[in-house]
């Protein structure tokens, strides 16, 4: 019986994701060349502007990943009774996206602090976006902690899904309350519908960097998803082995 589930399982690498992986490495290399060598230094920020090619795409990807987590959580809660797999596909997607989101939020914070040190002269300022980002980081660390606890997998997934939704609703509340509290940060560097403040080669480099980071994140999410799937299989198999050993019916399949 266990071998039937095996045949459905995929390894962490398939031909498609191998291609994606190579693409991710190539895209990152090109991003480094563009961001570090070809694009010019900024008139005001100097060389420090090169940090933004990581910093800005990272936070976008992190937000994107958290949106994915929330959407998947909704689909999990909706599909948990109807779907054959009890919605676990969406649960895995939510978990892997959240983990990748946390990694990129961490990168955003580190690169942002370094950038702030050379530009503002300090690692940390209590402004709205910094404070919101660090709270976002801690919130989703808590989400990941909840997901890792030993408990019934379905119950745990459901609690995690509820938490993901509440956390997501809470993000704007946190943001606006902190924003009210104090705002010093420069305006958003690039926004839809408005003329970007950075132009030319810097603009294209930033746009390209976003694409490259997206590819890397996609690769990571897909692989993490498969590892979660394998972890579940392993746990199920361990449980099945335990049950059959308790029943004393060793039919040779374990």
């Amino acid at each position: 019986m266990t071998s039937v589930t095996h045949s459905k399982a995929k390894m962490t690498a398939t031909a498609t994701t191998r291609v994606l992986g190579v693409l991710a490495i190539a895209a990152t290399a090109l991003m480094a060349v563009l961001g570090l060598l070809i694009s010019p230094a900024d008139v005001i920020q100097g060389e420090a502007v090169r940090m933004l090619y990581i910093h800005v795409p990272s936070i976008w990807i992190a937000y994107g990943a958290f949106v994915l987590t929330s959407v998947s959580s909704i689909l999990f809660l909706r599909g948990r009774k109807r779907r054959e797999d009890r919605g676990r596909h969406y649960d895995r997607l939510a978990g892997s996206a959240a983990e990748v989101g946390v990694v990129f939020t961490g990168i955003t914070l580190v690169t942002g602090m370094l950038w702030g040190k050379v530009t503002w002269g300090t690692y940390w300022q209590w402004d709205a976006r910094l404070t919101t980002t660090v709270l976002l980081f801690v919130t989703y660390l808590g989400y990941l902690a909840l997901r890792r606890l030993p408990a019934d997998p379905i119950v745990r997934s459901r609690r995690a899904a509820v938490m993901a939704l509440i956390s997501f609703i809470n993000v704007p509340i946190v943001h606006y309350s902190v924003d009210w509290w104090r705002t010093l940060h420069q305006k958003a560097s690039l926004s839809v519908g408005r003329r970007p403040e950075i132009t030319g080669e810097m603009y294209w480099t930033l746009l390209y960097s976003t694409l490259a980071v997206t590819i890397v994140a996609a690769w990571l999410i897909i692989h993490r998803y498969r590892v979660i799937r394998l972890e579940e299989l392993r746990d199920e198999e361990a449980l099945a082995a335990l049950i059959s050993s308790r029943l004393g019916k060793d039919d040779g399949s374990n």
Partner: protein
Amino acid sequence: MSEVATVVTGWGITIFVIATYSIWVVSRGKAIGQELGIGEMEQVDPRKDAGATTDL
């Protein structure tokens, strides 16, 4: 720290973190896959595989 040194540090930390995380994900997948007796890049035939799985 100079601007260049800061930029190098930032990029360095980022690449290190992403690389470490990727390696961790892939190796964890491989480790569990081996534990379960799933061959890489191939689908296991359920009939052939019967009885060949690792004892947990």
